[in-house]
Amino acid sequence: MTNEAQSVAEAVVGEPAIEKQPFNLLVWMSSRGIFVFTTVLVVVAAIFIDGFASLDNITDVFNRAAPIGIVAVGMTFVVISANYLDLSVVAQVATAAVVLIAVSNESNIPAAMALAFVIALLYGLVNGVAVGVFKANAVIVTLSTTFIGLGILRWFSGGSIYFGPQDGAIRSFGLAKIGPFPLSMIVLILMTLILSFVLTRTNFGFLVRSYGSNRDATRLAGVNTAWVVIGAFTITSIAAMIGGFVLGAFSNTAVSSMSTGFDFRALAAIIVGGTSVFGGRGSVLRTLLGVVFVSVLTNIMVLSGLGFGVQQMAIGALIVAAVSIDSLARKASGT
């Protein structure tokens, strides 16, 4: 770089300077987003709702949050890679739970877990290859693997409900606590930390974000994008498997219909957390907060004796409100 070229460059600066914006509540809320919402909700609930702040109730909130949360933090990878969502988590969670409870028969839990792991890898591979290599639409691919997966599960399991013995190892895991905290909560937080590290600090997580932002540019940087997609789906599958283990252990039962609705509920948590459905932007930590937020909200409504219909309406309104604030803030700040 010569001095001449540099001086030319200096003369050509055309970039508008970034100016300081006046304080705007909307902007402030949207930049803190889900952090603010969750804090406000928790504080308000603790003051106005009897029993909310009790240890028992906090345990309930996390029991509500743990299985869906574990699935959601994993599915965040698929969403960030700009592939909408993974509908097949419904089949995967149920499969993992059935394998853990039914196949292990309390005698060979490690072998059952290994089998579940192989199945999870298979899901990740099939979804990932169809989307990453064949460039097929992720919604339809995962819809079809849901059909296939649930079909196979019901064909083999006969759709029965399975449950472990009252004093078995799985049940004691499901009820275990570390200090006052249920083990499922610890698993959720551990998964969040691990996946957050993977997304923000590792090569692979970097590529997932880059792929979600611009897949062509990522490919032309010499990246094997098929593996990025397969990886994103596999992480989701492994998270779904662990979610299935936690769900199965918590209830000590397994049935193929137990995870109905996990697909869109997980997506709702991811979106409330603030991850962009266009891909490229988002974080695992935000997803965790999104899950906690939805769980706290549901918990408050149950404590207040509100019916199921009202709960659904509130969650729907919340999704729109959370994202609307973000959008209005961006408009207010003029970008």
Partner: protein
């Protein structure tokens, strides 16, 4: 071209054969047609009842396809409406809650339009992504259906009218099929011949250009969501009439089936590409497949596996992606020898 010839940029017009070839190459429904032919042949061989009792098959196609047609209008603009199934349920419940049948139908359809307006409001005015706006509505409207219905099926006041509605009235055709055919023709004409509908492609294919060309993009998006909401409401009304009761849990399989029909039909989820006709083909393939599988009496789980496999194969056999796959497989094969020095 009377005077001086311009520079030659375009291709020459060819004969009839090449013109036909060009016409085919311009269409987006090829894959859907291939799948339909395939499903039809397989069904013809194994389960011809699906065709001899064609009105049953048509009824199933109408059940799957009606909502998908409305949804296609929205997808063409590069937007999504995940709330269609919930719209269907809530509109049915609203209709059945009103004792006067005519008033109920009008109210339900109006609610459908309003839902479309609300969806569009969030997308256009507030400026949030339609995927999220309609996901919120998916939960909200389902909850509303439970609240309005008191979490129970609501029976229609005039049951006889409903039962009469389910009977054939035009030859072997029931009102549902006629409405479906009319909706198909209306929407097909709308997006091919009517300016507002044709401009949906501009809104989805190049929104910036649509703005710049003076197309009222916001109004088009409102129109699209209102079509989708209205058609979903229409499906809710038809279902409620035919069933003589409104079920707040209705439509659990509608959303994903509609998406499947549209995508198999060659409609691009990111907008600007696809057709109403393609969606019809997609819905027809799925309808025939479902009826044929039911008739075979194969275990339901196996039926689901087959439907899943057909869907999967349908989406991974896009000619463009196959070409890429074949190409990269070959270069992978060559690449193995290529990593060594070649002298």
């Amino acid at each position: 071209m009377s005077q001086a010839q311009g520079i030659q940029l375009g291709q020459e017009q060819g004969g009839l054969v090449s013109r036909i070839r060009v016409t085919i190459a311009r269409r987006t429904e090829g894959r859907a047609l291939a799948l339909l032919i395939l499903v039809a042949i397989a069904t013809w061989i194994t389960e011809p009842t699906a065709f001899t009792a064609w009105e049953v098959t048509l009824g199933r196609v109408a059940l799957i396809g009606l909502v998908a047609l409305g949804l296609t209008a929205v997808i063409l603009m590069g937007e999504l409406d995940l709330s269609v199934a919930s719209t269907l349920a809530v509109c049915g419940v609203v209709m059945a809650s009103i004792d006067n049948l005519a008033l109920g139908v009008v109210a339900a359809l109006a609610v459908g339009l309003i839902i479309g307006v609300v969806n569009a409001f969030f997308v256009v005015v507030v400026g949030i992504n339609s995927f999220i706006a309609s996901l919120g509505m998916l939960f909200f409207l389902r909850g509303a259906a439970f609240v309005i219905s008191n979490e129970e099926p609501v029976r229609l006041a005039s049951r006889d009218a409903g039962i009469a509605f389910g009977k054939p009235f035009l030859g072997p055709l029931t009102p549902r099929m006629v409405i479906f055919i009319v909706a198909f023709i209306a929407l097909q004409v709308f997006v091919t011949r009517v300016r507002a509908g044709r401009e949906f492609y501009a809104v989805g294919g190049n929104r910036e250009a649509a703005y710049d060309a003076g197309i009222p993009v916001r109004r088009r998006i409102f129109t699209g969501f209102m079509i989708s909401g209205f058609v979903a409401a229409l499906a809710g009304v038809i279902n409620t009439l035919e069933r003589t009761a409104a079920d707040p849990t209705a439509g659990s399989t509608v959303l994903l089936a509609s998406f499947a029909a549209a995508i198999i039909g060659g409609v691009l989820l990111t907008g600007g590409r696809g057709s109403i006709f393609g969606t019809l083909l997609g819905a027809t393939s799925l309808g025939i497949l479902q009826v044929a599988l039911t008739l075979t009496g194969v275990q339901v789980d196996v039926q689901n596996i087959v439907i899943g496999l057909v869907l999967l194969l349908a989406v991974i056999t896009d000619p463009n992606s196959l070409r890429t796959v074949v190409g990269s497989a070959r270069s992978l094969f060559q690449g193995r020898s290529g990593s060594h020095p070649v002298g």
